[in-house]
Symmetry: C2
């Protein structure tokens, strides 16, 4: 089965919104084993939409559209899909009831243009939209199918998952199953080298590395007749990759470094406190993304000035005088100081130069020291990060979280 | 002039990346007054790329491509653009020198496939790529022009701005100039009502509201022969909008609430400190995004536990017992406590239930109290936010920053 995605909306052609729908649908169709050789975007214009249908059906048997299902005169998609496939629109009573009910709850009465959203070809499969007023539809004749979906992602995605996937899965003989491994501490190019021979010899499953903002993901994808067979294909390759990348792999699937670390801290009952300078609270607030963190996160301080470093967590005046606020020695005293103040097993600190100003030859922008106190011992790491203020701060946060993860992974 | 954007790359069709290039180019072309009626995406495949060129030129005279300029055999764009326009590729010496120099700096020698990147039609305009190895090009015959740009946005955008804009501007008679007003504290639908009559009567300039994550922007766009004429058209409309929205407008253009507030705090020499519970350092770290903030931001604390609320900033045991940690009274004592501890003019506090668990009937998830101490007076605000943990925390932060902005705007 070959499909084409047509996104409809002048706002996309004006660059007002990014077309994330096309990405979502492409990925989902790939997972279903349906080939997509072409995506396109057209404006809300009858002639151009019909031409897009015509061009697409030269190469595919299924078109999925997003957008143009609203109540206004500009919204033409459903009407044109029906017209193109030679179908009349008739009133679909359940949709009308839903729309009237929707407006009733708002204390309003639907206008004629809202009612227009309840008309469909009588042999179409109408798809409910609990997140908006525009239902979607699967409209087909003998050879061709057009699936019309609403434009807003929060309406389109659940409709696709709840209706379109079960509908399409009947037509595909094989499925794609992916497993994602999340890696931190190895750059994209170094990782590519580590798995180069595996990538070169790949047929099924395939392996693909992707660089994200701060981490790298490795996706293993198998094509098989069902999930079980796919899992069997993935398993030995995953084992080999895990052997090579070791604890650089911090998690799998849709997770984050802070969730993995948060869970470890809670499971191991390791209380933690933070003392931040250059990251200004970002280590704490990232860690606090993890919902269960209140069991172990006790307190954090942001000692942005020298006075507060001394007053709050007992960094010594002479340390600041002799080595400066951005120094190994200060990072050390901060980590130790916060752990003592908060009476926690772990104390973590950051101090650095996030820029854009404040750098010197000896201490350039991007220089960051982090301190980590665990059960009586303090370690310090020195980093030299590239990038702007925001990037330097985010990289500091993620590297600090990853460092804690590695340090505590063997603590029972 | 009509243009079409063709994005080339199998990774887009697989949904591995979002096609942000198409959005960037659409917006830039709109600003230049060039119509884009169609965008498309094709894979790295000779037949399909040539077909895409052919289809596009039925409706336009300019194609802009992104992607497919790399050194591998899969990278076909430049070769096919030349072929389509009936041009031979010849060695472009300056590009070869650049590529050899680039590899020399890395201590490497370019391979034959890298050298392939230095071949262009002899009448093409070759565009340098200081951010990568693949130069771009403007290739044309009598009727048709194809502009080939690299795929990575950090290479494509500067090349477009530095070469393509000056090239295209010669062909356009009018330009679009936009002015963006940033609004906080008024929802998208309420704002639409406030400016409804202006939107209904719009011709030139036009007004369009867009909802962002936490704020709303209003974009005024004028079409005119030059910037000066456009500015004249925008001015009276902007005046009217500002009159209606008042201090809900916090800034204009590409700025953020924290930058605006940071600048105000620094200019007014208002020192500030933060005491956060549910936001866990996010108020501080957002404020610290503003580079000059170290002049006024003194310290922050994250009092995630009751003990730390008492120990660090003197919240009273009886306050916590009688009213709970999430209460007006606690928010008040936190704001006052941190201002006294840090000896600052402003103290700000947050305490709330970010969820997903921890909510009760009386104190549901989304309930947040914020405290604001300014020069001896403490105020408290109560919020009920919708959304998940992350959204509740972000909404708290932005509402707190906006509150401070409004409170200090009249302080000299």
């Amino acid at each position: 089965m070959k499909a084409e995605i047509i996104s409809i909306g002048t706002e996309i052609l004006l660059g007002d919104i990014v077309n994330t729908n096309a990405q979502f649908l492409s990925k989902e169709l790939a997972n279903l084993g349906i080939d997509v050789y072409h995506q396109s975007v057209v404006g809300d214009n009858e002639e151009r939409i019909l031409k897009a249908f015509n061009d697409a059906f030269k190469n595919c048997d299924l078109i999925i559209t997003t957008g143009g299902l609203g109540p206004t005169k500009d919204d033409l998609t459903k009407e044109l899909a029906a017209k193109y496939l030679g179908k009349e629109l008739v009133l679909h009573k359940p949709s009308l009831d839903y729309i009237e009910d929707y407006f009733k709850k708002l204390g309003k009465i639907p206008s004629d243009s809202n009612r227009k959203q309840a008309y469909f070809p009588n042999d179409a499969i109408v798809m409910d939209n609990p997140n908006g007023t525009a239902p979607g539809a699967i409209i087909k004749n003998e050879q061709k199918t057009i699936i019309v979906l609403p434009g807003p992602p929060k309406e389109m995605k659940p409709m696709f998952n709840n209706f379109v996937v079960p509908y399409l899965i009947k037509f595909t003989n094989s499925i794609l199953v992916s497993k994602t491994l999340r890696v931190f501490g190895v750059g994209e190019s170094s990782m590519e080298k580590v798995v180069e021979d595996l990538i070169e010899n790949q047929t099924n499953p395939t392996i693909a590395p992707y660089a994200k903002d701060v981490d790298v993901i490795l996706r293993i994808t198998a094509k098989a007749k069902d999930k079980e067979e796919a899992d069997k294909l993935i398993k030995p390759l995953e084992f080999e990759i895990r052997k090579r990348l070791g604890d650089n792999i911090y998690g799998e699937g849709e997770t984050t470094l802070e969730d993995i670390l948060g869970e470890m801290l809670v499971n191991k009952k390791l209380t933690i406190a933070t003392a931040e300078s250059c990251t200004g609270g970002m280590v704490a607030s990232t860690l606090i993304n993890y919902p269960g963190i209140s069991d172990v996160f006790k307190e954090g301080i942001i000692t942005y000035s020298n006075e507060s470093k001394m007053k709050m967590i007992g960094v010594k005046q002479e340390t600041l005088n002799n080595f400066g606020a951005v120094s190994k020695e200060t990072a050390k005293e901060m980590a130790e100081g916060i752990a003592k103040l908060a009476n926690t097993k772990i104390g973590v600190s950051t101090t650095g130069i996030a820029g854009p100003s404040g750098g010197t030859k000896e201490k350039p922008v991007g220089l960051v020291y982090a301190g980590l106190y665990i059960n009586g011992e303090v370690k310090v790491k020195k980093f030299n990060f590239e990038g702007n203020r925001q990037k330097i701060r985010i990289r500091t946060v993620m590297n600090v979280l990853d460092w804690i993860r590695r340090e505590i992974q063997n603590i029972k």
